[in-house]
């Protein structure tokens, strides 16, 4: 397709042997519809000028040469000869090569100069007289993807499906007559956002379901420790700030999977925006919102543009709207809701603001994040209901493995939540831990390599159900050190393994993952995105071959999952199974949490269960 005016271009490798760069550029120019003539390497300047004179109507001469000893004189001699022949005014002279800089090119008499790292697309843009914008040229792979598209959620393991049916039916029956402060707040927030309730009435009812920390804020403007409100001047300055022109290609460059997610949550939404823009530019497909842990243990959400001076960015409607405003349209956005007292309400805000994904898992929240199993089950089911309402797909994370829960138990819990979501019309994504977990440290499954057990997990899940997989979170967790080279390499290797196994998405850490002395910095995010890009580039469509142990372990995992699900189903109560440790016990390292214990209500408000 030819959009610009056809140009005639003479390509000159003014070099004894090298012309590869010019061949790449010639291909791009030809594809863009221009006429090209590539001269052989090794010609003297006077011979090149003779060729130029033989050709009629040459618009551009593109000279390729690495700057080195006496090369400047050679290039200047070439420009002088072109001038002496009287054609200088008719042609545009361009020089390119390693160590060429625009100012040096101008000094030597060229119209333009391109150094190392120049893409053929940049040269085509220059020839066509239009500005080069990296994203527009190369960003075709940076389209928002639906991580659940194409998955049937059909079971390949009927026994597991049967057990999951029994367990999830019992859960839905059990939650039937129960509600919680979070469930009520979510419904109030939904009504308020639609203007179905007067602000005064909303506030009174809402605060009736909140902790003192939130009441103090609304009633007395008393801010929680280490938080402050961003002022109008800062927000106006952000609006004027334009340092994020140009979106580059995705790390996965043109391939459908895996989508790469980074996790942000510096505490300040303005700094988050800068980190997000940096990661988008360096190829991230999606971003995950991290909130402070105290937010998950507080009944009720705050409001306003809030900055927090420690890890995690406070979830407020205003903060989420601000972040959304600056997201690239092709970037997937996940707002986590999985592990606290505000789970259903967070899903409502995420849905209202336009997030693409959320995160829900009452098993992890109960066993690894301190939440009371009964409360979390009621809140989790309600959160799934809201996710379905807003069309949000969500991952079901298994980070209870980080407490020491073996993978087969964590996967049983994950499958229960995913099956429940399917029953309710949701689109869950399975998120197995893809790292060096406590289980493998104790039992030695990664003594020889880090491939087999991670592969076994993926193979096991793929053998059970046709569902999207999003290993995390982050991949390679507990293999990182404070050495940024090591950290970026281990992330890249795990990413390449995940890609080789055909997963839908991955969450990657920054190279600051193991550094606990301060906030993560943008340059460390680039380290791992760049490393992952290089890994993907290296492997291309080639795969990584696990040993036979991977299949053996996958079978063991499936057997373990089946056993646990049968135990939970026969116990007759999912919530009691959580308390009793069937999905992760104190011996494993998992303890049923206490946050929110005794707060369940009957559907008629005010009556304790």
């Amino acid at each position: 397709m030819m959009a610009a005016e056809r140009k005639k271009i003479l390509l000159v490798p003014l070099d004894p042997v090298h012309d590869v760069g010019l061949k790449l550029i010639r291909r791009a120019l030809k594809e863009a519809g221009h006429d090209t003539l590539l001269l052989p390497p090794g010609l003297e300047p006077n011979e090149v000028v003779s060729k130029l004179l033989e050709q009629n109507g040459v618009d551009f001469v593109l000279v390729s040469r690495t700057i080195g000893y006496r090369v400047g004189e050679l290039l200047a001699e070439f420009v002088d000869l072109v001038e002496a022949c009287g054609v200088r005014e008719r042609v545009i002279l361009v020089v390119g090569g390693m160590a060429v800089r625009p100012e040096l090119a101008a000094e030597l008499g060229f119209d333009a100069g391109f150094g190392s790292g120049t893409t053929p697309e940049e040269v085509v843009a220059y020839v066509e007289g239009r500005p080069f914008v990296a994203g527009k040229e190369r960003g075709t792979g940076k389209k928002k993807v639906d991580l659940t598209a194409g998955y049937s959620y059909a079971y390949r393991n009927r026994e597991i499906e049967k057990q999951l049916d029994l367990i999830t039916q019992e859960i839905l029956t059990w939650v039937g007559n129960k509600t919680s402060p979070a469930v009520e707040r979510a419904r109030l927030a939904f009504s308020a956002l639609r203007g179905e309730i007067e602000p005064g009435e909303f506030r009174e009812k809402y605060l009736g379901y909140c902790d003192d920390l939130v009441r103090d804020y609304y009633n007395h403007r008393r801010l929680p420790n280490r938080t402050r409100l961003l002022d109008r001047e800062e927000l106006d300055a952000l609006e004027r700030h334009q340092h994020w022109e140009g979106i580059s290609t995705a790390v996965r460059e043109g391939l459908p999977r895996p989508a790469i997610f980074i996790q942000y949550g510096t505490g300040c939404p303005i700094m988050d925006i800068m980190h997000i823009k940096t990661c988008e530019a360096w190829g991230a497909d999606g971003v995950v919102h991290f909130d402070p842990s105290w937010g998950a243990r507080t009944e009720g959400l705050l409001a306003g543009y809030l900055a927090h001076s420690e890890d995690g960015t406070v979830i407020t409607l205003e903060n989420l709207r601000l972040l959304k405003e600056y997201l690239w349209p092709g970037t997937l956005w996940q707002v986590r809701a999985h592990r606290g007292l505000n789970t259903p309400e967070t899903v409502v805000l995420a849905g209202e603001v336009g997030a693409d994904l959320t995160k829900i898992n009452m098993v992890y929240a109960s066993l690894g994040a301190g939440m009371d199993p009964a409360r979390m089950t009621v809140d989790g089911v309600e959160a799934i209901r809201w996710a379905v309402h807003y069309g949000l797909s969500f991952d079901v994370v298994t980070n209870e493995e980080l407490c020491g829960v073996p993978a087969y138990k964590a996967f049983a819990g994950m499958l229960i939540v995913a099956h429940l979501a399917r029953k309710m019309g949701g689109r869950p994504i399975l998120q197995p831990l893809f790292c060096r977990s406590p289980e493998v440290m104790i039992y030695g499954q990664m003594k020889d390599n880090y491939i087999d057990y991670n592969a076994a997990k993926i193979l096991a899940l793929q053998g059970i159900i046709d569902a999207p997989l999003w290993p995390g979170a982050p991949i390679g967790f507990l293999t990182h050190t404070e050495d940024r080279v090591q950290s970026a390499v281990t992330t890249a290797l795990h990413a390449c393994l995940a890609r080789s196994l055909g997963v839908e998405a991955i969450s990657i850490a920054s190279s600051d993952e193991a550094y606990a002395g301060g906030p993560i910095v943008a340059a460390s995010r680039i380290d791992t995105l760049r490393g992952t890009y290089e890994g993907f580039r290296f492997f291309g469509s080639a795969g990584i071959e696990p040993t036979s142990r991977a299949q053996e372990w996958a079978q063991e995992l499936v057997a373990g999952i089946t056993r646990v699900l049968k135990d939970v189903a026969s116990s007759g109560s999912f919530v009691q199974a959580l308390y009793r440790g069937l999905l992760g016990s104190p011996e494993d390292g998992a303890y049923p949490g206490r946050v929110g214990r005794g707060t369940l209500l009957r559907k008629e408000p005010g009556e304790d269960v």
Partner: protein, 76 residues
């Protein structure tokens, strides 16, 4: 320092120091950062192998939530 305001968050200084051990390298890097005018700093990584120590130090210019020089239209 007029260029500081253009640093998004932090400046990392990474090098190989001739030092007896990691403790000495830590002291040298901290002294260097103070000498360069960075009060808020930390040592991210130290590893002694052979005759010296591989080290990465970090000077925070804009911690999250502070007033950002680059947002206030810091000097070009």
């Amino acid at each position: 320092m007029k260029y500081k305001s253009r640093i998004l968050d932090a400046l990392d200084v990474e090098t190989f120091l001739l030092a007896r051990d990691e403790g000495e390298a830590k002291g040298i890097m901290e002294g260097l950062l103070v000498e360069l005018g960075f009060a808020d700093h930390d040592i991210v990584f130290l590893e002694q192998v052979g005759c010296g120590v591989r080290v990465r130090a970090r000077a925070y210019v804009h911690r999250p939530g502070v007033s950002y020089g680059w947002l206030a239209g810091g000097e070009q």
